[in-house]
Symmetry: C2
Subunit: 352 residues, 2 copies
Amino acid sequence: MSDLTPPPGSRMRAEIHEQPAAVQATLETATPAIRDLAGRLRREGVEYVLIVARGTSDNAALYGLYMFGAVTMKLAATAAPSLLTCYDTQLDLRKTFVLGVSQSGKATDVIEVLHAGRERGAITGALTNTDDSPICSAVQHVLLTHAHEERAIAATKTYTTALVVMHQLAALWAGRSDIADQAQRVPAWIEEVLRLEPDILDHAERFRFMETCHWLARGLNFCTAKEAALKMAECCYVVPSSFSSADFMHGPIATTDFGFPCFIVNPTGRAYHSVGVVVGAVEAHGAEIIMLSNADEMLQRARIALRLPAMPEECSPMAAAVVGQLLALYIALEKGLDPDQPRGLRKVTQTL
Amino acid sequence: MSDLTPPPGSRMRAEIHEQPAAVQATLETATPAIRDLAGRLRREGVEYVLIVARGTSDNAALYGLYMFGAVTMKLAATAAPSLLTCYDTQLDLRKTFVLGVSQSGKATDVIEVLHAGRERGAITGALTNTDDSPICSAVQHVLLTHAHEERAIAATKTYTTALVVMHQLAALWAGRSDIADQAQRVPAWIEEVLRLEPDILDHAERFRFMETCHWLARGLNFCTAKEAALKMAECCYVVPSSFSSADFMHGPIATTDFGFPCFIVNPTGRAYHSVGVVVGAVEAHGAEIIMLSNADEMLQRARIALRLPAMPEECSPMAAAVVGQLLALYIALEKGLDPDQPRGLRKVTQTL
């Protein structure tokens, strides 16, 4: 056990704790624009979704991909910006909704894809935290998160609020107000997860010398594995490796030797059984399991058990992401690193 | 320099060397079926491609995604099998071509998605190395690679021949016989890469204690980075980390400290300049660069330079993959591991 105390000046910690309020504000203010867009997508019979994003926003896009698939029943893909920015691909994008995700609203390659999408007949939208940013003037529909300014390099509250907007859009597009309504409880579920903080602080010392690890999940929480791995890369300089648990069985499991740290995200839901099979496989390799779940059966099999709230699977990525953020924050501090200032990164990254 | 001699009994080494002949045989025998399918996709005005695969085949799918985008100008996506196998998503797949990739032809989740695709109006195809396998009876169009039996666990010749089939299908669907014809020279280009073997054997000792590394590329060769990282995971138990070089700049570059090994794939082509920017960034971090390129400017900036043939960008992933295979093979041998028998893996992996 460490006697590390929460750093009072940490911007990342402050922003992690702002998430219940940020989600609440986003739910209260973003709904009219989401409803407007959802109605248009239904009226115009849009059949395909193309999401374009980078970094943390690309993990939010991955959540959208599953939500638009599993809830809205539309074929959704994440676009490789290079197809349009390097390869000048002339796609026919009628009947397609192209959504760009960029918290800063300044991701140049994302904006370029949105311009191309509009020229080729797509309905375009921007999911951003920054009103009046360049991405807003590139699209027909602006969906704003209301996370207020995010100052830490590692994105936290702009990620969870982006998930909330995707959740609402997918649910309203599908006409599933029952699913849309579930999000009202997300602030409370995140509050519940934030109460794990002292526990995570206690466990952080164990990972002082961890240099690499796996993050595993499947389906709706695949984005959680990827985002938590990215947070650990950015803040802790741990080399990230995140897999869909099904892909993991097709090769990467070979890297898992005795004691290898495997962080597994497996709340109850439709991917639960499938991820459970992988838990058995990494147990057989003698791996150390750190489990994020709300199922006793999963938590009992872990070296370190981090309990998620009982909640619908569609909302679980918003709560599970917060556990990943807290782990990245406190492991970084144990390593003597400043998670607010990762080396080599700036808040806005521009690639073409 | 190591005095390691090539292992005469290694199945993986033998199969790496069989690739020029396997590609030649595939080009000679697969064309009628590819031409037949390409004609149908044109006639029926198919607008979307959904590729479903796991493991190495998923990396082949990634190549297809760029080829169907950049050459055929169709919106292509890789499907998450879990959307259909776990979430029971009811997609409308008319005007969509669903392609399953499985060398063994036994990937149960891939087959399930193909069945679902056919029910929902898609044209379905199977890209496999195994005639009469279950995947063949699930689809309307069978595209066979002619790599003969692959016995090593780590896929090599079934990967490069799958790329050749994707290349031909994308080119013929687009009516681009100029691009299709380029593949005739792939066997010779692979022969040229195989002549790097003594050089790679010499360099392998340097990586005896390498535990992790980055593989970076973009666009058409993003699949090369992912596949080489997977080979190193399977054969060398190196924890793989592979990125689109653009995504890499949005976070993971923070993990790259002085001397960190970065394998970069950057042949000339439309992604060349963009990847070059990332080379500058990892140089600034003091990383060790191992470069796969056919451009002097790139090779001169590397600690270890592995020269690719001068070749069209569309074919370069087939040659560059072989460099990754040879690196994985000889680094595994330096580590005292048997690349023919990675722990915890079998030739056919079944996930649901």
